[in-house]
């Protein structure tokens, strides 16, 4: 007779996690974070071209997510995964704080002396290189209309399905497909311009 043990303890489905969040269990927020912080962070970095802003956005998104459950019961999770819902929150956070970020930048620029000194640690250098690359890619993508750009970010960069991207954007799946189709038609020219 043989027996086997699972390699890892079974993890809760997102639906179970969602129900725990509805019951306002703090540990569920920690689990949600451990599952999706990396995905939200990557989305925010690619969306802003800045690791610093992305770090802030990740925290804000999860705090806002918790507050959603505190305000009212959203009902059962409607999808297989909570990621599209989280990315929708992150997207709103990034939009809402864009002005605050710009004002903070202006504030820092007005200071007589730099508030921080450059850090030449390898990890920081890697982030700086990555930011430069992302900003170059975003510059190329910027010729697309905002709604097509966002669709490309979600489907190609965040690797969401058409259905999940539609949830984040709050539009029909057909709209997402149409936007991608239009963006694809324009992308070859964009690639040429920024080569």
């Amino acid at each position: 007779m043989t027996s086997s043990r699972p390699e890892k303890p079974p993890t809760a489905r997102d639906g179970d996690l969602w129900d725990a969040l509805r019951r306002q269990e703090p540990e569920a927020l920690g689990e949600l974070f451990s599952r999706y912080a990396a995905a939200v962070h990557a989305y925010a970095v690619r969306h802003t071209g800045s690791y610093a802003y992305a770090d802030d956005a990740v925290q804000a998104a999860f705090v806002t997510a918790w507050r959603h459950f505190g305000r009212s019961d959203p009902g059962p999770l409607k999808y297989d995964t909570a990621l599209p819902w989280l990315l929708a929150i992150a997207r709103n956070e990034l939009r809402n704080t864009a002005r605050a970020r710009r004002r903070l930048t202006q504030f820092l620029l007005r200071q007589p002396a730099p508030l921080s000194h450059p850090d030449h640690a390898e990890s920081v250098a890697a982030r700086v290189d990555s930011e430069k690359h992302i900003q170059a890619v975003r510059a190329a993508l910027s010729a697309l209309p905002a709604h097509e750009r966002e669709t490309v970010e979600l489907v190609y960069w965040a690797e969401l399905s058409i259905a999940d991207a539609a949830v984040v954007l709050g539009v029909a799946e057909g709209t997402v497909k149409a936007r991608l189709s239009r963006a694809r038609r324009r992308l070859p020219a964009l690639l040429e311009e920024h080569r």
């Binding site: 703090p26 007005r110 890619v137």
Partner: protein, 267 residues
């Protein structure tokens, strides 16, 4: 460069992610934690409220309590009447003239380098909102102009009657849906207590309300609609109802369904 390939992203530092995760859980747990002594305190408060209510009812002329501190009336939020201060949008010309005047006053009072270059240039004004509200406690005045506008470098101004109001921003890390600065003063003759609140709010907040509670009564809720995620609300209470200068100011923010998202008492 292939735009359909995700640009590589440096992964979240595991130590940092763990710290953030623990901090998040700690913060939300702290918010909902109910101390063991809460039932005892609640019972004591219940007794205190009953006693205070008895004292309040038995006082024939609402003299100060034996301790010398007057009691501020408790009026359930839902029982106070409401009065809208909104009088509708101002014309573009009215808004432009007031915005230029507001910016000029701000420029005259600004410290060197307080604003980035060009931000005080009236040519850069972009009007965002301009609404009239009822003037409360301002003798000879029927309405006040509340407006917001942006200038160069995304500097945002909230002005009331051509004077900039201080405000805080809401966004990353904000714990409240509405933030702002409040003030009160005695104005007019006969004197009334006038409270004001200039605010910014999250997009979900559609109206903000304010009332004053004194020793002898409470004002209605003054209600203003939120425009451009900001606004200004005032209320007045006759001095006779706020004897000995004692009063509290209640502020709350509501969403479009009337659900209270934010409430705070100051004073």
């Amino acid at each position: 460069m292939n735009l359909t390939t995700p640009p590589p992203v440096e992964p979240l530092d595991p130590d940092y992610a763990t710290d953030v995760q623990h901090d998040l859980v700690r913060r939300v747990r702290k918010k909902r934690r109910v101390p063991a002594w809460t039932p005892v305190l609640a019972a004591a408060c219940g007794i205190a409220v009953i006693v205070a209510g008895g004292v309040f009812i038995s006082r024939s002329n609402n003299e100060p309590s034996p301790a010398g501190r007057p009691t501020i009336v408790q009026v359930p939020a839902g029982t106070s009447p409401t009065q809208s201060l909104d009088l509708g949008p101002a014309s573009g010309n009215e808004a432009s003239v007031a915005a230029v005047a507001c910016l000029a006053k701000e420029a005259a009072a600004a410290k060197p380098n307080q604003y980035p270059g060009g931000s005080l240039d009236p040519a850069t004004i972009q009007l965002k909102s301009a609404r009239w509200i009822k003037a409360l406690g301002l003798p000879g005045r029927e309405r006040q102009l509340v407006q917001s506008f942006m200038t160069a470098n995304y500097v945002w101004f909230l002005c009331v009657d051509g004077k900039a109001e201080p405000y805080q921003g809401v966004g990353d890390g904000a714990t409240d849906d509405v933030v702002g600065s409040w003030s009160w003063s005695n104005v007019g003759s006969p004197s009334v207590l006038r409270a004001t609140f200039a605010f910014r709010s999250l997009a979900i907040v559609t109206r903000v309300e304010l009332r004053i509670r004194g020793t002898e009564g409470a004002s209605p809720w003054s209600v203003v609609s939120v425009a451009d995620r900001g606004g200004y609300v005032t209320a007045v209470l006759p001095d006779a109802q706020a004897r000995h200068g004692s009063a509290k100011v209640d502020i709350r923010g509501l969403d479009k369904t009337g659900k209270v998202l934010f409430e705070k008492t100051v004073g």
